[in-house]
Amino acid sequence: MPFAARAAGASAAKNACVPLIVTRDLRKVFRNAKRFPGALGALRGLFSPVYEDRVAVAGLSMEIERGEFIGYIGPNGAGKSTTIKMLTGILVPSAGEVEVAGIVPHRKRRENARNIGVVFGQRTQLYWDLPLVDSFELLRAIYGIPQDRYRRSLDAFIELLEMGDFLRTPVRQLSLGQRMRGDFAAAMLHEPPILYLDEPTIGLDVVAKEAIRTFVARVNREQGTTIILTTHDLADVERLCRRIVLIDHGRAIFDGPIERIKNEYGRERTLVVRFTETTSAPTIPGARLESVEGMTARFVFDRATQRVDRLVREVSDRYSVEDIAIEEPELEGIIRHIYTQGYAGEERSA
């Protein structure tokens, strides 16, 4: 067992029935002085500032149980990072309530900090000029981790994240993938019961991504660590999360298991047919031809109204067929559809 006992913070939430993370009508409005173009505009802004409100989070309510792995997704500017910042206590909400492990984060920032680990993909918490291990030593002092426990978890991270080769290398000489592994270890050295990951796999190659995914999946499974993952890589979500919260314009437009969003949206299936000879403009009643490429044609059909066995029979009756496959929709396609067309399901069904 690579990890030591659960961190102290878990005791903060005495009541097991209460969700670990609760937000109620959480709002954040940024107020910024409006800028006017040109030098005169700058002067005008100096003497009679005009303020502009921008609603980043517009009444978000959600409950997250211990041990969940949440995919927190939404288009650019939807308010994901802003939500995470409020959950960490570094941003004070404009309205609404937020509670993490029984603590209101922005009121007890330091107490809350002991319960959480945070990884920001585009920002590092490591000392840029010092060897990686120096940042870990600082964290040991900050969290007051006893020496033996520190050694044990550091050894575990070195093994799991394969950090042995660059532990003594200055952080600025590390590759992005190596640095991210360092950042993961740094965020989890104190064994927090809650982990916030804000685009942690951004810019990583497929191998590094896979290593990180395997690692977080394992932490969630073996430690019961509650994880909120924000990402634009839906393969991350599909692979790791059981539940997704989809937000747009600061509002949750979907909250539920991945299967449900797939069922609601993924009524369309693709029938991929490979003919034995080149066939131009093949047709099947009840299915729409999407594309033909060489001897392969792709048909789209509605799973709810069309029976697969009938379609297969139709196509093999009409043409000489070598191979048939049915493709399930990918989460990515569904999400793209929702981003562009809007969400049509009932709002925030839990």
Partner: protein, 264 residues
């Protein structure tokens, strides 16, 4: 916050980090020695033409400027500059997400930097002694000088803290920074003994916190503040320390409620 361990570690890491900028430190030593030479030439020329105010003999004047330059090696460390930088880039988030009192961490970081730069005093002094001769006062004077310097260090930290803390309200503080820097260089007594300023202006500069940074320790060193006035001079410094620390505390309390973390 129950222990000092995190803050001691912050200081150690800052020391190690600064130590990686070796060239910068060497350049700093060179610059101090160069300025010692230039100011010696300047004062010698001015005194030769009797253009300088009297009351301080030439060798005391040279002692004053040389010691001031050596002091600047530690007093020019600005442990709170990171506030401004981290606010602009959003890096402050990382510090705020730790179970630490953030200003304490920055203070400790400053101490770590200072300790490394303090090491540069020794070679600077040795090189300077090749160019100038400075007076070395008696042991009690040196002891009081060190106390006064420590108080001045504290005032300097909090003045910087207040200045950089303005970034919580307006992210662009460079202009302000420049002006305050200018004023503080002149009015802290780093370049010129404040006793040179005439009339009401001369009295007014002593009523500013800047005088508590360089002037008081230096005037103790060269003996313009006699032993009878030591207690009063250090009390004024302590009062400024309390005032600037109190103001910093209030600023931080107000700021942490409105901090906006950029980026993400």
């Amino acid at each position: 916050m129950t222990t000092f361990a995190p803050y001691i570690e912050y200081a150690r890491k800052a020391f190690a980090r600064e130590a990686t900028y070796r060239i910068e430190l060497i350049a700093e030593i060179g610059s101090v020695v160069l300025r010692v030479y230039l100011l010696r030439s300047l004062w010698t020329a001015l005194y030769a033409h009797n253009a300088a105010p009297t009351g301080l003999p030439l060798h005391s004047m040279i002692t004053y400027t040389t010691v001031a330059l050596l002091m600047s090696l530690v007093l020019e460390v600005d442990g709170t500059r990171v506030i401004r930088e981290k606010l602009r880039e959003g890096g402050i988030a990382v510090d705020l997400m730790k179970p630490i009192v953030v200003p304490f961490a920055y203070f400790s970081d400053g101490i770590g930097q200072t300790l490394l730069h303090a090491a540069a005093i020794v070679p600077s002094l040795l090189f300077a002694l090749l160019l100038v001769r400075i007076d070395v006062p008696s042991l009690p004077v040196l002891a009081i000088f060190c106390c006064s310097l420590a108080l001045g260090y504290g005032v300097n930290f909090f003045v910087n803290f207040l200045m950089n803390g303005v970034a919580f309200w307006t992210l662009e503080t460079f202009g302000l920074q420049l002006i305050v820097r200018w004023i503080s260089d002149l009015l802290s007594g780093q370049i010129l003994p404040l006793s040179f300023f005439p009339g009401w202006f001369g009295r007014a500069v002593f009523a500013l916190p800047f005088a508590a940074i360089y002037s008081t320790p230096l005037l103790v060193y060269v003996g313009i503040i006699p032993p009878a006035k030591w207690a009063a001079a250090l009390a004024v410094q302590a009062a400024w320390l309390a005032a600037t620390a109190g103001a910093s505390f209030l600023l931080w309390r107000a700021a942490s409620r409105r901090v906006v973390v950029q980026g993400g």
